[in-house]
Symmetry: C2
Subunit: 723 residues, 2 copies
Amino acid sequence: MQLGGLVASAGINIGLAVIFYSLYSIFRKQRTNVNVYFPRYVLRQKNVFKTDRFKLASLVPSAGWIQRALQPSEEEIIASCGLDAAVLLRIFIFSMRFFAICTLIGVGILAPLNYTDNQVSHASQIGLLFDSLDLFTISNISNGSNRLWIHLAALYVISFSAYWLLHMEYKHVTQKRLEVLSTARPQPDQYTVLVRSIPRESQEESYSASIDRFFSQYHPHTYLSHQMVIRDWRVVRKKQTLESLVKEIERLKQIAPHERPTCRDGWLGLFGSKVDQLEFKSRKFEELFDDFREGQRELQNNGEAELPSAFVSFKSRWGAAMAAQTQQAENPMAWVTDWAPEPRDVYWPNLSIPLLLSKLYAIGVWVAVFAIILTFVIPVGLVQTIAQLENLRKWFPAIKIVLKIPGIKSVITGYLPSVLLSLLLYIVPSLMLFLSKVEGHVSRSTQEREAARKVFFFLVGNVFFISSLSGSLIDQLYAGFSEPKNIPNQLAIYVPRQSTFFITYILTTGWTGFSTEILQLGIFLLNFIKVRILGKTTFDETDTISLPYYRALPSVLLFILLGLMYAVLAPLLLPFLLIYLVFGYIVYRNQVLFVYEPSYETSGQFWPHVHSSVIFALVLMQITFIGVFGVKQKPNASILTIFLPFITLFFDNYCKSRFVPIFANLSMETTMKKDTEDEKSGAKDELLQCIQGSYKHPALQSLDLRKSDADDNTDLLLPETPV
Amino acid sequence: MQLGGLVASAGINIGLAVIFYSLYSIFRKQRTNVNVYFPRYVLRQKNVFKTDRFKLASLVPSAGWIQRALQPSEEEIIASCGLDAAVLLRIFIFSMRFFAICTLIGVGILAPLNYTDNQVSHASQIGLLFDSLDLFTISNISNGSNRLWIHLAALYVISFSAYWLLHMEYKHVTQKRLEVLSTARPQPDQYTVLVRSIPRESQEESYSASIDRFFSQYHPHTYLSHQMVIRDWRVVRKKQTLESLVKEIERLKQIAPHERPTCRDGWLGLFGSKVDQLEFKSRKFEELFDDFREGQRELQNNGEAELPSAFVSFKSRWGAAMAAQTQQAENPMAWVTDWAPEPRDVYWPNLSIPLLLSKLYAIGVWVAVFAIILTFVIPVGLVQTIAQLENLRKWFPAIKIVLKIPGIKSVITGYLPSVLLSLLLYIVPSLMLFLSKVEGHVSRSTQEREAARKVFFFLVGNVFFISSLSGSLIDQLYAGFSEPKNIPNQLAIYVPRQSTFFITYILTTGWTGFSTEILQLGIFLLNFIKVRILGKTTFDETDTISLPYYRALPSVLLFILLGLMYAVLAPLLLPFLLIYLVFGYIVYRNQVLFVYEPSYETSGQFWPHVHSSVIFALVLMQITFIGVFGVKQKPNASILTIFLPFITLFFDNYCKSRFVPIFANLSMETTMKKDTEDEKSGAKDELLQCIQGSYKHPALQSLDLRKSDADDNTDLLLPETPV
């Protein structure tokens, strides 16, 4: 792509971004969209608007929302949106800082250095094709030039700034995590351990009795109580029907009796006599409710419904920490203990999968992931071929006519491939989330984290490797993969050449991606239909959604990877990335504050995954440069680069032992300190009472006519009226 | 190599083996060699010989020793030589069983099946060179032949017998381990935890005080005492000098006063007046002893000599299990706990290395190991080239004359390369043990295990991959490595062709290797010099050696790998291997019973390493067959083979969760049961007394004039008079 293509692409995207953000700033001021853009306020029945009057200003686009999104401090965000949301924002803060340094070095030093050399013009004369943007990349440095020492220095400076910032960030996040854990109200998950593969002494003994026997014997001073996981889908399903009936009844009650719709009381509502719907539903509710209570009673006294898994609670955090971290039985496959997830985070269906079977599933799932990555090579590769006009001309001669339209060439090569790629990639996260569910993780948060890992793996495999290594799929598929010792060289040759593709990728997927994120077009349309056409005004709690980490994390991480790869190779990419990150920071701040209602809180447990992904990117960059300096005939620089991956590995190793355990365990020190505090304050007894019921199986929970999640949550400590 | 070469090689080796074993059976009957072949009896001052009279039969070779080696039951071996030795023998039992099955299938079914096809004779006609032994390998099966289904079936049968036997063996070993742990006399290591990276609240606080504060606070009910690791080399060195002086004095005391040698009391014993040696040494001892006691006193009261590591003992096994398995402090890099090794197993010098530094060392060591493997490619490859006569003729034309001597050709191609290889490989284990020491492992047993892992890694890398993939180094070095997707195919082509090389490798390294093991030539010669020339008769405890696991394990594992690789490809290798294994079993049984005095006891902790090495070999074999069936134009069989590696991985995964934790941890159940027993029997108080001094730093230990290791050990429950 020539400069023209880049300008066209940038123009289109800047235009789109301006349009989208303007639209957003208008939409959010409309009363009808309050369910779309402020569901967290609606959920808590807080006011969104300052006045009830209509103002003309609400039809004029403005940038005030940016200011409002940036206003709250990190502490306020942690208090109102949870640490997970705050940690997501830390990723942007880290990358903005890091790429600011990179941009300074790259655009300030490396780009001019590259531009003033003459390898490309020389190469052009002898017939090789180069884009004009390549003048700013390392490709323009002559072979063996001493200028490459500056690139080596830049590589070292960038690597060490990465270590420094990563360490700072890890420290900050762990500190916040420890603060949250120590100041938070006592959580049942700190007292509870999930026990799986519970054995029985005989067929007559119930699992429940077995647990009592075992823990009273081996944890005599700390064992408190347990709550069984049971085998049931009928009662839960009845409960769900009841809950939707309740909602329906609530809705019907608000309608005046004469306006209330009627329905037939026969089969499927198609036959029988006409009756008032409210009456009909209420009758149905009562019938079903008795049935449901009957089912619950049966389950409670039925040892046969018990599964060999349970949540075991302890009298102190210290006791739970001990039970969670030690091996319980002589046979390590029995009495397997682990920290319990938060009650609302538990994914009950997976608790019925035997532990051994889930290991088998895990192998199957990884085979599937690998297969998906391999099969996606085909469409992704095809998309890439479009980016190279010569190929397009070769295979579709008819396109020549289209290409005569002025400007269209730039659009096709610069814009179309990225759009196609983005569309194609939209379905992958959902697929990976499904696979992670199948893998048998027992909490939603773990499933999302594992999905994020898989998606990142996928993106690196497909977007990065295939896009950058096989300039054209059909010519070179697998060329880079078949010879591993050549990988550094292959990376060195192909990576710089694809920089313009990735600039447009950042422009389309990145910039416009955030616009669609903030506009929430799907939900916006649904709401529009609901409010304007169906005339609904109530707000269901199910209308709030939680932040899809498995979608947000991997794409940000991919952009960090891109930035790292091109920081020294093609520094012109960096300003675009920096703008992307600033956009992302603002948009996600806005979204976590006003839109996404967290459905669980892991206190930043996904940070280790973020950290190791950045480490992976660093190592990849450093290995690439071993090849780059080789290709550029500067073997000394190549040798000096070899130290970097080892330094990175050591740094990662250090971080793993310094920080990761904090995300996996509670220490003896922490738990005992907190226990002593609680004992002093006298809150302990009440607390233990409350814990004993918090891991009830959904089938045994009483029918909550109003869910209390939102009430449980801390109040929204945010701008009173955001608009 | 033709059949002739194989016969020559087998002949030489059988001859050598017969000579060596005959020599051994004579040597062991000689009274002067008792220190060489029965050091364990000498150490305990037990009788080796039935009568004191000289018998003519002692000059006649006999096979009675084999019977004596096989006599004791496994329980007796565990009781007298420890579980580690018994577990080493289990490897042979496992492989004998497994390869008996393989031999049945291979020689009974596959070899005739291969021989009756005609691919090789067909290939010979069109000019390809094949050895006559190749008629029995899979190379002789025609492409696309339906006979390959039998090979596939054999592959499945062999894989599943491996799973079955591996599982049985793992179960057996864990059971024995649990038995030993529960019946053994209470060991201090079951009550003790090694704590490293101890922080201090201030510079004034001593580490010792810090430990008392921390553990009294967070393990108030179970904390007993601690023993510091100190910084010292002077006192330890003085102690060593004193110990050797004591030995010298003992020796001098046995000599009549007038025969006693004299020495000069001046500088280096060269100047000054002549004095009686006994008197001189005794004087020296007293001087040094006072000095030593002074040094000890200084160390004891010196907080500055303390290092931030200590052995912390608990009042119960349960308390120690808890402390060893949980995270102690908020900062996971402080108060790092782990199970303490046995007191005699502790490698004190490494306890002074900071934990973080040892991580850095570990990276460096693995880089070094990798470099060693790569540099050894050159000599190993050169050795391989000799095996191919054409190459030899090409490079050393002068050799043609030598080759005219009848039989020499067979010796050169069949025997010389393996001998060279064995010699070359002799130094590797010591090198790897040194590297494992540098890595910073704090117990000798871990160092040996890690060295064994490295040596196996090395052997697989060099002997197997290089030998089998690059038929000739100079022609094909790296040919197999540069294209990973071709690795199955490369393996499929080259592995079968090298079968004759590996048969001779088994003959030389294996058969003759065991002869040298049992003859202990080095020690035999040293003893000869000592007894016959220097006239010494005393037996030093330092004369006993412990079994060098880092040498024994990897080579047996390599032979298992070879057997697995060739079980289906070239089944004629199997009988040779089976004989090797029988030899090995007898020889090692003899050696652990009579020669090697265990210097530590890990209760079979190296079994997980053995298991995973066999798993590695299985996966390698299965991947090879994906390629073999591909090369043989039987794609359906190839596809059916793909499932096998996944089944193996799942099986391994299962074993990892079922068995490995038993080798790493003591469970709450086990420890509490044992604690209760002790409490009932009233042995507890005495026990805790004994534990408190068992991890004293060597510099603080009192001068043992006689070491008590052997006395501590269980009595030798073995044949009273083995000769």
